[in-house]
Symmetry: C2
Subunit: 915 residues, 2 copies
Amino acid sequence: MSKYVWDFNEGNASQKDLLGGKGANLAEMTNIGLPVPPGFTITTDACRAYLETGKQPAELDGEIDEHLAALEKAMGRTLGQADDPLLVSVRSGAKFSMPGMMETVLNIGLNDESVEGLTAISGSDRFAWDSYRRLISMFGTTVLGVERDRFDEALEKLKEDKGAESDLDLDVDDFKALVSTYKGIVKDHTGSDFPQTPRDQLDQAVLAVFSSWNTDRAKIYRRQEGIPDDLGTAVNIVAMVFGNLGDDSGTGVCFTRDPASGHQGVYGDYLPNAQGEDVVAGIRNTMPLSALGDRDKKSYDELLGIMSTLERHYKDMCDIEFTVERGKLWMLQTRVGKRTAAAAFRIAIQLVDEGLIDLDEALRRVTGQQLAQLMFPQFDAKAERDKIAKGMGASPGAAVGKAVFDSTAAVEWAARGEDVILVRRETNPDDLRGMIAAQGILTSRGGKTSHAAVVARGMGRTCVVGADELRVDARERMFRTSGGVEVKEGDLIAIDGSTGEVFVGDVAVTQSVVVDALLAQAATGSADEASRKVEGEDRELVNAVTRLMEHADKTRRMGVRANADTPDDAQRAREFGAAGIGLCRTEHMFLGDRRKIVEQVIVANTDDEREAALEKLLAPQREDFLGIFEAMDGLPVVVRLLDPPLHEFLPDLTELSVRVALAEARGETDDEAASLLKQVQRHHETNPMLGMRGVRLGLVIPGLFLLQVRAIAEAAAELLKRGLHPEPEIMVPLVADVKELAIIRRQAVETIAAVAEETGVELEFPIGTMIEVPRAAMTAGDIAAEAEFFSFGTNDMTQTTWGFSRDDVEAEFFPRYIEDGIFSVSPFETLDVDGVGRIVAIAAREGKQARDDLVIGICGEHGGDPASVHFFDSIDLDYVSCSPFRVPVARLEAARATLDRQDSAANRSGSDGTA
Amino acid sequence: MSKYVWDFNEGNASQKDLLGGKGANLAEMTNIGLPVPPGFTITTDACRAYLETGKQPAELDGEIDEHLAALEKAMGRTLGQADDPLLVSVRSGAKFSMPGMMETVLNIGLNDESVEGLTAISGSDRFAWDSYRRLISMFGTTVLGVERDRFDEALEKLKEDKGAESDLDLDVDDFKALVSTYKGIVKDHTGSDFPQTPRDQLDQAVLAVFSSWNTDRAKIYRRQEGIPDDLGTAVNIVAMVFGNLGDDSGTGVCFTRDPASGHQGVYGDYLPNAQGEDVVAGIRNTMPLSALGDRDKKSYDELLGIMSTLERHYKDMCDIEFTVERGKLWMLQTRVGKRTAAAAFRIAIQLVDEGLIDLDEALRRVTGQQLAQLMFPQFDAKAERDKIAKGMGASPGAAVGKAVFDSTAAVEWAARGEDVILVRRETNPDDLRGMIAAQGILTSRGGKTSHAAVVARGMGRTCVVGADELRVDARERMFRTSGGVEVKEGDLIAIDGSTGEVFVGDVAVTQSVVVDALLAQAATGSADEASRKVEGEDRELVNAVTRLMEHADKTRRMGVRANADTPDDAQRAREFGAAGIGLCRTEHMFLGDRRKIVEQVIVANTDDEREAALEKLLAPQREDFLGIFEAMDGLPVVVRLLDPPLHEFLPDLTELSVRVALAEARGETDDEAASLLKQVQRHHETNPMLGMRGVRLGLVIPGLFLLQVRAIAEAAAELLKRGLHPEPEIMVPLVADVKELAIIRRQAVETIAAVAEETGVELEFPIGTMIEVPRAAMTAGDIAAEAEFFSFGTNDMTQTTWGFSRDDVEAEFFPRYIEDGIFSVSPFETLDVDGVGRIVAIAAREGKQARDDLVIGICGEHGGDPASVHFFDSIDLDYVSCSPFRVPVARLEAARATLDRQDSAANRSGSDGTA
C-alpha cells in the first residue's frame, strides 16, 4: 500500500524523489532538532497519480485527515478553529528547485469567523484582516484561476483613493473593504462564493499545486533546465508562523557562506515585521542580516548556531529561509545553496581544509561546466567599461567588435579582418552566415532557447539575448538604448556572454587566471607553483582549481587526449595536460597552396599523371607530421587519413558554372575552365556527406592513403634517427565493413615495411579505425579483428544515426525542436544516449569482446562535454579526445565519472545487502 | 578425435559440408547399391586444417594408409603394383559445385614400371603409354605448377612433325616419346624428376587439391557466386576405370529429364572409347545417348534403370557421369541437375504429379529469382531476329532501341522520346546519366561484376556485357561485329539480358505468358482457369506456376503488399495479388502543375500566404486519394506523408544562378528570378538527404502534413458515404524520436476528428511511422507507444547505416567494391543482414515487446528481393511491400521462407531429440 503523506518527523534529506527538495529538507531539519513549524508532506507519488488519472488517489483523503489531526493535536487547535485558528501554508516542492514556477497558498484556514479568532489571538485586527485578504487573493489566483491583475488593481485603486503610498498606510477598515472587494472578484469570476470551509480550502489548494506541475510555464522551465516531465511535485502543509506580527517579528534569507566568493561569514537579508513574500516581491528594502542581531540578539545567535549546524550537517554551503514570530525563530526552508563557478571551487576546497569533506567529495561539488566558465576569456576586471544594457547570457565568453546589423555586413566586415558583433532583434536561419562571421551575437528579443541562443551555443559563439532595453533598427543600421545611447554600424561594442551585460566602446579582454594556472600546473607539475604567482582573491580560486585538478588526475580512470591538427595545437594540447592526440585531422594539410595539386590528383586522366601529382605532396606531408610528432614527442598521435569528400578540393560548381556561362556569353572561350567544369560536374555529389570520402576514397585512389602512410612512416623514421620517440597511430576513417579496413591495413603495413627497409629503422604503428557509421558499430566484433584501436566519431555517428547533417539542420530546425521539447539540448552538444549512445555502447562492448587489447577512444566533439564524458566512462572507453581548450574540463569530468561509478556500485551493493 | 577419411560406404548424401557434393553423392550411390568404383573421401575438415596451418593434420597420413589398404584389398592389387597396377583419380569436390575451378589428377599410380603392367593387363601398350603421358602432364600442371602450354606445345609439335591430324593418329612410340619429353619438361621446371613412387604422387596430388581452394580463380568464382571462402574442399580418391579401352568402352553424361523443358526422357551424350576429359574438352563429337543402346544394350538398360532409381531416390532430376569399361557400367558422379527457370517449375509439378514429392517440397525447388525471370518481357518466340553477337546476360529483360555511343547522345535521344540502347566498350561513372536514359546497355568488355553489369542490375536495366565480337568505336559512333555487320548511331538493335544475345533490327517483345497467367489467376482465383487459355508447351509451364503460387499463398505466414502511388499502379498491384498498398508515396502528387503552388508554400513570407497556397492543394490532393482508395477498396493503403527535401520543389541552384548572372551581364534585371534565387539559396542544402525532409518538414510547416491528412480524411469520408470501404493508414516519414511522431499524431487525430465532425462520417485510421534511420530503430520501444504500425524504409536505413547515399556512390564505387570483394551484392539490392538487418531486427523485436498489436512491415525495395524476404520472415515481420511486378516473387518467397523456418525448427527439435 502506498503511503501518500509523511509527517516531517518521518522523512529525511535523502527522500527528495518522494518528498521533493523542500519537504525532504524540512524533515531533515526536524529530525536534527531545528525549530521547524510542524507539518507534513504529500508525496510526488500522489501528484503523479493525480496527473495520470485526473483524480486524487482514494487513500489520500484519509491520510490527510490523519496527519492533519496529528498536526492539530500538536498545535492544540484545529484548522480554522473560530476562536484560535490553526492556519497552514500549502507549498509545492519538487525534487529540483523550480523557483517561481510552482504555486503557494498561505493562511489557509481563515474565513469570516476565524479572522476574528486570529484578531483575538494576535491582538491585531489589522494583521488578521490583512492576512485574510492575502489568502483570498492568493487562493483566487492560484486555485481559482482569477487574473492576478484584478486583485492588484483593486488594491491600487484603494491606495489611490486613500492617497496611501504603501500597504503600510492602510488600516484595518481598508483591509476589511479589500476582503469584501476580493470576494466580489472571486464570485464574479467563478460564480461561487469564496470557500468558507477550511478543509475545502486545503483540499483545493493541494490539487492546485498538483496541477501547477503541468502549466506551460513549468513545462518550458523544465525543458530549459533538462528536468524530466514525469517527476511531479510534492506538497508541503506547514503550520503558519508570522513574521508580520510586529517589530519583534520578521523574516529573512541567508547563506552560510558568500555565494559569490565562497567566503565564510554571514550573508543574508532581514526584513522586520514582514512575511517571506514581501522579501521576494522586493516591495520594501531589506536590511543586512546583522540588523537582526541589533534587534533580537537571542534569535540572531540561535540563527548563527543553526547556520553552523546546517553547514556541518550538510557539509556544504546552505541557503536558508527563516521567520521570527514574536522573538521565536522558525526555520522555513533550507537547501544546498546555488553559487557561482568560482565560489563552487573555492567552497569545495574550503570544506576540504575545514575537514568537513574529502577531496573526492570536493570533486563531486564542482562541474566541468563551471571550470569551462572560469576558463573563458573575461573582461579585464580593472578595465573601464560603459554598460548600456543587460540581457541574458546565452553563450559564455567576452566579445568585442564593431556592431553590424545584418548577415551580409557581418560577412563583408569580417572578410576585411574586422571583429564584428552581429546585432539583431532576433535571428533566423538567414542570419547563419553572419553568426559564423561574427565574434558575438546580441539580440533584443528571445530567451535561452531562441534561435540565436541555441545556434550560438552550438557554435561556441559568445551570445547575449533578450536585451530588451535595445531598440534595434536594422534598416537604419543602428540601435538605441532605453537610456538614449545610440550605436551605429561600425561603433565598437562589447558583450559578456556569462552576465548578459552589454557595453559601448572597447573593454579589455584578458585570458582567465585559471587558464594561466592550469598551464603553469601542467608545466611544473605542481598545483602550488601555479597559485604562487597569483595575488589576492584570485590566488584562492587558482589554488582551489589546481588542487582539484591534481586530485582529478589521480582519480580518473579514463585518459584524456586532444584533437589537434598543427604543431601549435599539439603544443597547446600538451600544455593543457593532454596525454596524446586522439585526432589529428589531415584535411587542412591538403588545402591552401596544395589544393591545386590535389585537384590534379582528382582530375588525372592516367595513373602516371595521378602518381606524379601525389609525389609532389609527399615532402610537404612529411614536414607536417615531423612538426606534430616532435611537439608530441613520447605521446601517441592518432593520424586520421584523409576524410572529406573529393569535391571539397574542387571549385564550387555554381560559381564555376556562372563563370563559364559568362565567358561564353562574352564570346570568350576558356577551355581550361570548361574542362574543369566537366570534372567538377563529374565529381559533383548530391550528398557529399554520404559520398566518396574516407576509406572509400582511399580504396578508389589507393595512392592517396599510401602517400599519407609513407609520409607518417618517413617522419617517424627521421625522428627516431634523431633520438626522439614518435608514436603515430594510423586511423582509417568511415569504415563500414571490416573488408574495407583489411585492404587498407594490408597496404599500409606493406608501405611501412618498405619505409623501414629504406631507412633501416624499425617501424611498427598501431592501425585502427574510426567507428562513425552505424554499420561499423553493428559489426564492431568483426572490425576489431583488423583494428588495434577504435575511435568513435560521434559527430558523424550522430548525423547518420539521426539521418540529419549538422550543416543543414542545426540552424534550420534545432531551435524549433528545442522549443517543441523534442530536444532538451542539441545532440551535437551532448551525446544522445538513447540512440547514438546505445549504438556506441554495442560497438565498444563487442569490440572488446572480440579483442581484449583493443584500445577504444572517442574523438568527436562530445569528448569535451561533461554529460557525455560520464557516459563514455560508463561504457568503459579508454580515453576521450577533445579540443585542447576542453582538455581540463574532460580531465575533471572523467574523475567525476569515476566517482559516480564508485558511488553507484556502492549503492548497488548497499541495496543488494539490505534486500 | 577427427575422422579425416571416409570410405564411400560410410557416408551419405546429407554430408555435403564434410564430404563435398561429389563425395557425398558417391557415398549415397554406393550405399544404394549402384556400381561406383571403390574409393574414399578426405574431408573438408582436413582441407581447412591444412589451409589454416600450412601442414596436413598429423592423423591424415595414417588414415589414408588405412583406407588405401582397404581399397587395394577390395581391388586385389596395390597402388602402382608393377604387374597389375591399381590406378586412382584424385578429384576435388567442394560443398557447392565450382565447375572448372578446382583440380583433378587421373591415373595416379603409373610410373616407368607399372606402365608395363598396365600394358599387360589392358592388352594395349598404346593405351598404357597414353595414360602415362596424361598423368605426367596433369600432375605437372596441377601439382607441380608447370605451365599447361609447355605440354600442349610439345604435343602439337609432335603431331606437326608426324603430320598427325588428331591424337588418334599417334601410336605407342609417339606416346613413349611424349612421356620422355614431358619428363624433361618437369625436370626443367622443378629441378627434380617426375616422382616414381605412387604414394608420393597421391600425397602430392591431395595437397594440390587442398591448395587449389585458394587460387585467385577460385576466389573470384566464389565471390561471384556468393560461396563462403572458409568451406574448403574435400578430395575424392577413386579407383580408375577406363572408357578408352576400346570400342566396348566409353563414357557419357546424361540427365534424367530435359534440363531445358523438364520433360521426362533420356537426355545425354555418349562417346565410345574415350575418357571423361575428352567429352569436356569437346575434341571429338559426341553421340546421343541412345547410341549406347545400339552398341551395348545391357549397359544401356542398366543405365536407364539406374537413372530411374536415382530420380526416385533423389526425388529430383539428376545429372550423371558414367563410364563403360569393357561392357561394365560404372557411375562416376551424380548430382541434382541444374535447369532453366521454366524447367524448374515444370519439373517440380511433374514430381508432385508423379507422387514423388508434395507441394511443400515443390515450393522448395523453385525460387523467386526464377519466377522473376519468367515474368520479364521476352522477345516473341515467333518473331524473326538477326543475331549478330553473344555476350553475357548481366541484367535480364528484352530491350529494343536505337544504338547510341555516349551518355550525352543517350540523354538527348531519350529526351526526344526515342528508345535507345547505350553501347560502350565498357562503362564508367560518367556513363551513369546515359544508362539511366537508355532502355538497355551493351558493352563489348567486362564480366558480370563490371561497372555496367553492377549498375544495370541495380537499376533494373536490361544489360549485356562482354560481347567481345563487337569492335566499338565511340568516336565514329558505330560498332562492327567480327562477322562484318556495321551498326551506326540510330540503327535499331535488340539485346536479351538473359541469354546475352544481340540482334540487329527490331525484334518483337511480348509480355510473358506467366504474367498473363498470374493476372488471370488473381482475377478468377483459379489456377486452372489461368492455364486453360494457353496452348502447347506454355500450358504446362503456366499450370506449374499457378499451382505453385496457389500453394504458396496457402503456405506463407507473411502478407504481401505493393508500393503504388497512382490508381493505375494500385490496380496493377491488386491484379498481381497484393493484399494492400504498403507504401503510397505522395511526392509525385506535388510535382507537375502543382509544383508552382508548392513553391509558394515554401517561399511564403507570412502564415496567411502559406495557408492560402496550401488551400489550393487540398482539392487536387483529395482527388488523388479518391482514385487510389477506390482502386484498393476494402484493402489497406498506407499513405506516406510528404518526404522529400524542400529543395526538390525549387529550381536548381546552379541553373538559376547562371540565368540570373547572364541576365545581369546583359544589363537586364529579372527581379522575380533574383528574388527566387535568394530563396533557393536560403533553402539550399549541402546534403538534402540529411536535411529538412519528412517529419522535420511536417513540424516546421505544420500545415503541410495537415493538408494531406485532411485530404485523406475527406476522400475516405466521401467513399464511405458512397458505400465503399476505404482503409487508409497514415505513415509519418523519417521519425527519429517518439516526440516528433507524438506531435504529428496529435495534430492528425484532431484533423481527422474535425473532418468526421464536418462530414458526419465516423473516421478512424491507424497512424504509424517509417523506421528508416537507426535512431528510430534504437528507440523503437518508445516509438511504438505512438505508432499503430511500423514500416521499415530499408533504402534510407541502408543509406544511413552505411553512411552512403545511393545517388552518389552506387555508380562511383560499388563496382570497385564488388571487384574487391567488399560486397558480393549491392546492399540496396539484397538487405545487408549483418548491419542493416541487425538494426531492423532490434527495432522489430523491441517494437512488438512494447506493443503487442503493432503491425510491422517493410516497404523498401528489399521487399521484393528473395534473400531479403527470407530475412524479414525470420524476424517475424507481418508483411513485405514491393513494386507491383515483384508481388508474385514476394508471395512465392514468403512461402518458401515459411517452409525454411519449419525445416530449421524441425532440424532443431530433431537434433535436440537425439542429443
